[in-house]
């Protein structure tokens, strides 16, 4: 069990991250404004030194702080730009292209925040007009490559409803030009294009060869055979969907990928008494963007585990005073650490000894000496798996949202935080209207699809810091920290409208589903019963004709 104080520390850390995240949009707006001033200031050799200096300071601050609050990608990018400005400050005159790139890069910062930040609708106060604008800026860009106009417009509509910015291309050539012009965050590509000799995967594979960074792509196709999948894999696919399309499932894949690209660095603990060698591993892994701690005395393992929360532990088999597999078993005695992956990293070449070690607590064996490249890939894969598993444990299997127990807990935590900070948290209970008849009419598979669609929409439209849980069958709970009741109503009404516009298709029939919602905020006496009160408001919304949001009076 995690001790109370540890839980508190993590909570405090989370709270600080939130506060910082709340301030980030302001910082980015300031940077963008400075960038625009720079663009306006005319010839590159006439850049005002004061302007460069303020830009440098803002970038320097951002580079230094964002990463400490978990925004690592943002930190790294700010640093690149900081170094650029530094050169100009030192007297080098930038070319016009360099200046243009610079301003574009600054503009792009806000996009880096899109999945790791609260830059989305519930961030904004009651006025719905700036709401749309701010949400727009943070949206991921998706290219849909599809020659079937009908399918294309269906996809575009669905993805737009989920909050993505979508561009559609009907031919491969047009799409290729667009990708080179502006790199999308994601591509959805059909395999066959009528009138084109090339297939989607062939075109993408070529683009991948030319591009430094791999493009994230999913393919859609009528084919369901090995060769079709193989061609997709060779073109770097992260998903493959057979028609007729399960769009919520596709969005799921898309979101998971975008999140992975924005994730915080993996945390790796190396337990090895060969200090020199483990230092070397540390450097290699840190260089690959991970966070690494070293322990040379196995007696320190427990302390470091409690403090550092690693996702993967690399254990040497031969340690002073005990064996590596004993340390693995020791770690496994703590139920909280069951989700941590353990791998042995040792020069033990005896297969029997290796097999024995793997039987006790650890999962597998990496043999020393190991090349840097292989070390990085082996560690990455295992840490990613560990993170995936850990997230799966707290999450509802159908929707990926928090489970009933976790979301109830979360409500308590947020109410306490609201009391502490003097801010207001709003809690909403959402229920799908006439869901039983959806199940009865179209079958459970389609019912599940509706539920997943709502889950996706909630995730896409709410802030990273908002809590979203599946409370029961078709019932959801949403927690909006630092959000007053009337702002919450605006957000929820917006969600309600978006959801009712999502089209579901059942064998030739298209239908829509609506939702009802009850919402309450914590600035009232009985703030330890928010869920109950929200439930009553939900009941009223149902009684008054459904498809509406009711606030508790």
């Amino acid at each position: 069990m995690i001790s109370n104080t540890q839980q508190q520390v993590l909570e405090q850390l989370q709270a600080l991250r939130r506060e910082y995240a709340d301030k980030l949009p302001g910082v980015l707006t300031r940077l963008t404004a400075l960038g625009q001033d720079l663009e306006r200031s005319g010839a590159p050799e006439k850049l005002a030194p004061e302007l460069l200096k303020s830009l440098y300071q803002e970038l320097h601050k951002l580079a230094g702080s964002a990463g400490s609050f978990g925004f690592d990608a943002l930190s790294a990018r700010a640093r690149e730009q900081e170094l650029e400005v530094k050169k100009w400050l030192a007297g080098r005159v930038p070319t016009t292209t360099q200046l243009g790139d610079f301003v574009a890069n600054i503009d792009n910062f806000s996009r880096l925040m899109q999945h790791s930040s609260p830059e989305s609708i519930s961030d904004v106060s009651v006025d719905p007009a700036p709401l749309a604008a701010s949400a727009e800026a943070s949206h991921s860009l998706i290219y849909v490559l599809e020659d079937d106009q009908l399918l294309a417009s269906e996809l575009t509509l669905a993805l737009t409803n989920f909050g993505y910015q979508v561009k559609h291309y009907a031919t491969l050539t047009a799409a290729e030009e667009a990708v080179i012009e502006q790199r999308p965050d994601f591509l959805v590509v059909d395999v066959m294009f009528s009138g084109d000799e090339r297939t989607g995967p062939e075109s993408i594979a070529e683009l991948q060869r030319r591009s430094g960074d791999p493009l994230s792509v999913v393919f859609i196709s009528a084919r369901d055979d090995f060769d079709a999948y193989l061609a997709a894999v060779r073109a770097g696919a992260v998903g493959y969907f057979v028609k007729p399309l399960d769009i919520p499932q596709l969005v799921n894949t898309l979101e998971a990928q975008l999140k992975l690209a924005q994730g915080s660095p993996y945390r790796i603990l190396i337990v090895d008494d060969d200090v020199l060698l483990s230092r070397h591993y540390q450097v290699i892994l840190e260089h690959a963007g991970m966070r690494v701690e070293l322990v040379s005395d196995p007696r320190e393992v427990l302390d470091v585990m409690r403090r550092f929360h690693p996702e993967l532990v690399l254990l040497d088999l031969h340690l002073p005073g005990c064996r590596g597999y004993e340390v693995a078993q020791l770690i496994r005695l703590n139920p909280d650490w069951l989700r941590v992956a353990i791998a042995y990293l040792s020069s033990e070449s005896d297969e029997q000894a290796q097999a024995n070690a793997v039987g006790y607590g650890g999962e597998d064996f990496l043999t020393k000496p190991i090349s840097d490249l292989r070390l990085v890939s082996a560690v990455c894969v295992r840490a990613a798996r560990s993170r995936q598993l850990s997230e799966a444990i707290d999450r509802d299997s159908l929707t990926g949202l928090l489970t009933h127990a976790r979301i109830k807990e979360q409500v308590k935590v947020e109410v306490q935080r609201a009391r502490r900070t003097g801010k207001v948290v709003s809690v909403a209970m959402i229920d799908l209207d006439h869901f039983k008849s959806v199940n009865d009419t179209y079958g459970h598979a389609l019912g599940d699809r509706v539920i997943r669609a709502l889950a996706q929409l909630l995730r896409q439209r709410l802030r990273q810091t908002d809590g979203i849980g599946r409370y029961g069958g078709e019932e959801f709970v949403v927690i909006l920290p630092d959000c007053e009741l009337d702002a919450a109503q605006v957000i929820l009404n917006d969600l309600r409208e978006s959801f009712s516009a999502v089209n579901f298709n059942a064998s030739e029939v298209a239908f829509n589903v609506t939702l009802s919602c009850g919402v309450v905020s914590s600035d009232r006496e009985d703030d330890d019963q928010l869920l109950e009160v929200a439930d009553k408001a939900l009941y009223r919304a149902k009684a008054e004709g459904r498809n509406q949001v009711c606030a508790a009076g």
Binding site: Q12, L13, E19, S68, D72, S75, V304
Partner: protein, 129 residues
């Protein structure tokens, strides 16, 4: 490893409130150190007249009085002359590290830092010194 007295009190100087808050959490709550944090070099100079910490941790880039300047002025206070110092900065290039060492810093911690392991990192530097 030489036996050394444990690190207890830290004087921390950082102008950015966000970073100060997260470092306070990292050093006070997680690390268990007794921390005096200051928002400017000026504040640090005032504090140093009344209490002598085990260690000074300073941000390099601060308005008005930067980290190196603050350290130099702190060192002019007789009781503070030998208190070890660590710099924190977002730009760490080898030649700069040498520069900070020349100013008498034990080490340089690059920003951004990991709040969960900052205390350990500082402890390690303390014991290595």
């Amino acid at each position: 490893m030489t036996a050394k007295r444990p690190l207890n009190t830290i004087l921390y100087v950082e102008d950015e409130p966000d970073i100060r808050a997260i470092a306070e959490l990292a050093l006070q709550t997680i690390g268990g150190f007794s921390l005096t944090s200051c928002a400017s070099g000026k504040e640090a100079l005032a504090v140093a007249k009344t209490q002598v910490p085990d260690l000074i941790v300073l941000d390099v880039m601060m308005p008005e009085m930067d980290g190196p300047e603050t350290l130099r002025r702190l060192r002019e206070i007789p009781m503070m002359a030998d208190v070890p110092a660590i710099f924190m900065t977002a730009k760490v290039q080898p030649n700069e590290i040498a520069e900070y060492h020349a100013l008498g810093a034990l080490d340089v911690i690059p920003k951004p830092f990991d709040p969960l392991s900052l205390a350990q990192r500082i402890n390690d530097i303390w014991h290595r010194a």
